[in-house]
Amino acid sequence: MAASIAEIERLIAELEEQIELVKRRTREQGEDRNDAIQALEGQLTRLLEQTYANPTGWDRTRLARNPKRPFTLDYIRLIFSDFLELHGDRLRADDGAIVGGIARLNEQWVTVIGHQKGRDAAERHQRNFGYARPEGYRKALRLMRLSEKFHRPIVCLVDTPGADCSVGSEENGISESIARNLHEMFLLRVPVIVVIAGEGGSGGALGIGVGDRVLMLENAIYSVIAPEGCAAIVWRDARRGEEAAEKLGLTAHNAHRFGIVDEVVQEPLGGAHRDHDQAARTLKTALERHVSELQALDTDTLLEQRYARFRRLGVFQEGPAG
């Protein structure tokens, strides 16, 4: 699209304000302004449709990173009931950047695990901006094993800019913690459903990203490297992230095209941040369907299919034996 998303979002915000104003006047003064309201709302819808008809990879990146977007704990609150958060890796810490616990999806007990970004400054700090540490991946693995022990499906919500790469995380084995999870998640004898819900940042995303089904929200991104990082390497200019975003194919559509994602989950018009309830309802419906499909499989088939699903990922040419 031509205009920058920032400009258009300002326009959208102005329109919404106007609509709110007219509605308030209607209430306060009792006059019938329904026509005006409908006209404005039509205008808004058209603008949203126009704007998000064909968003670029960079548009999606901005949407995926929108701080008003629903986070893992929002989805948990809106989709599941009886959530009981469980803490700690039983080794050395409780990482706030990954949350997890037990909860019910309707009548079905499951384990839910996800990256958690923070909304305000204090929570962002506590959550390390969603950059998970080794302790987070190890907590996730502990909870997955707990779920396996009691034959409960696992739902993983991915939303991280990447794994934490501080000196402390290197000292505590950030590589090992992600690698271990990849290894173990292929052996879990219960259904695992992964949802790329916001930012799917590289190894930090994949560290809880192995499952029988991988769903991806329409405006989420999933990438081997942040576009800015890619630009810094290719063009030695981190500001060319927009260009890199296009090259990297980080959209749900692209991930689906290569079989990396099984299903793209629709978001409310304009993005999940515009209607948390609606986003959660759509996701819940998808989760219900996949949980029930996967529970119908016997464990050996489940594991065989999970292996095969990832086994075929890759694009190469095979010539005559040389």
Binding site: V167, S175, A179, S202, V315
Partner: protein, 287 residues
């Protein structure tokens, strides 16, 4: 152990390890201590500096020749070559250039061999080819090598010289190689078989967050750079106070991430002890 590994044929360029300005062939210069080394002597010393013990980069083929029983290596899956699924600008050209420079079809050589008489499969990434970054071909060849070991109930040896981690030119497909290779190792492990990973300079990022950390045993060459975040990225990241030996093999040993730092000359002996310990898996069910 000294069966003249590097005396027999033309030596490929030592890549980043080779000193600049010194005529190649007779002499080479140590990039660490700047000592000028007589090439034949340096080669007989397994391309380890005779003065400061700096371990030069090896090519994948040199590494294989150095590790396995002479004449026992049979390459597999050499016909797999990279595509350019994202039409990433410059990728096709880069592949061609690196192929010409290294004589490899991609950043990995894999196959079967004997080591001290023990059959095993192996896969060796080569940092001279796009810094050993893992694209679809690296992931596929390595996965096949591990799967073959599982099928044949033999150990697998994976050698990393992968400074680039993931190959961003293949986007998400590159990331997925982490999952794919880990899956193959999970099955190999579950079958009760031995996997050994040897980490050489450099071993970073996606490699370390997948198969590079998943051996039953992790060995590393002295002073090899081993870590999660590569150089350029880490320069951007807030690293906090890094110790002097940050991301070295010795740092990782100290932090419990690897079993041993093993000088190049001891590798074969160490590997043979480990293979003997693991024994014959197909006959190994007795407690």
């Amino acid at each position: 152990m000294a069966h003249g590994w590097f005396g027999r044929k033309k030596i490929p360029a030592a890549g980043a390890g080779a000193g600049a300005g010194i005529p190649e062939g007779l002499w080479t210069q140590c990039p660490k201590c700047k000592e000028v080394l007589f090439a034949r002597e340096w080669e007989r010393n397994l391309k380890v500096c005779l003065k400061c013990h700096h371990h030069f980069w090896l090519t994948a083929r040199e590494r294989i020749e150095m590790l396995v029983d002479p004449g026992s290596f049979a390459e597999l899956d050499g016909s797999l070559v990279s595509a350019n699924p994202l039409d990433f600008p410059g990728y096709a050209d880069k592949l061609r250039r690196h192929g010409e420079k290294t004589g490899l079809t991609d950043a990995i050589v894999s196959g079967e061999a004997l080591l001290g008489g023990h059959p095993l499969t192996l896969a060796v990434t080569d940092a001279h080819f796009m810094r050993g970054a893992m694209g679809s071909v690296v992931g596929e060849r390595l996965t096949r090598a591990v799967e073959r070991a599982t099928a044949r109930r033999i150990p697998t040896l994976l050698v990393s010289g992968s400074g680039g981690g993931a190959r961003m030119e293949e986007g998400l497909l590159s990331l997925m190689q982490m999952a794919k290779t880990s899956a193959a190792l999970a099955r190999h492990n579950q079958a009760g078989l031995l996997s050994i990973v040897l980490l050489t300079d450099p071993s970073l990022a996606g490699i370390m967050a997948s198969w590079g950390s998943l051996g039953d045993i992790l060995l590393a060459e002295p002073a090899a750079q081993i870590g999660f975040v590569g150089e350029r990225v880490s320069a951007q990241a807030t690293l906090g106070k890094a110790p002097a030996n940050f991301q070295s093999a010795e740092f990782q040993l100290q932090h419990g991430q690897i079993d041993l730092v093993t000088p190049r000359k001891d590798l074969r002996d160490t590997l043979q002890r480990l293979l003997a310990f693991a024994g014959n898996a197909s006959a190994g069910a007795a407690a």
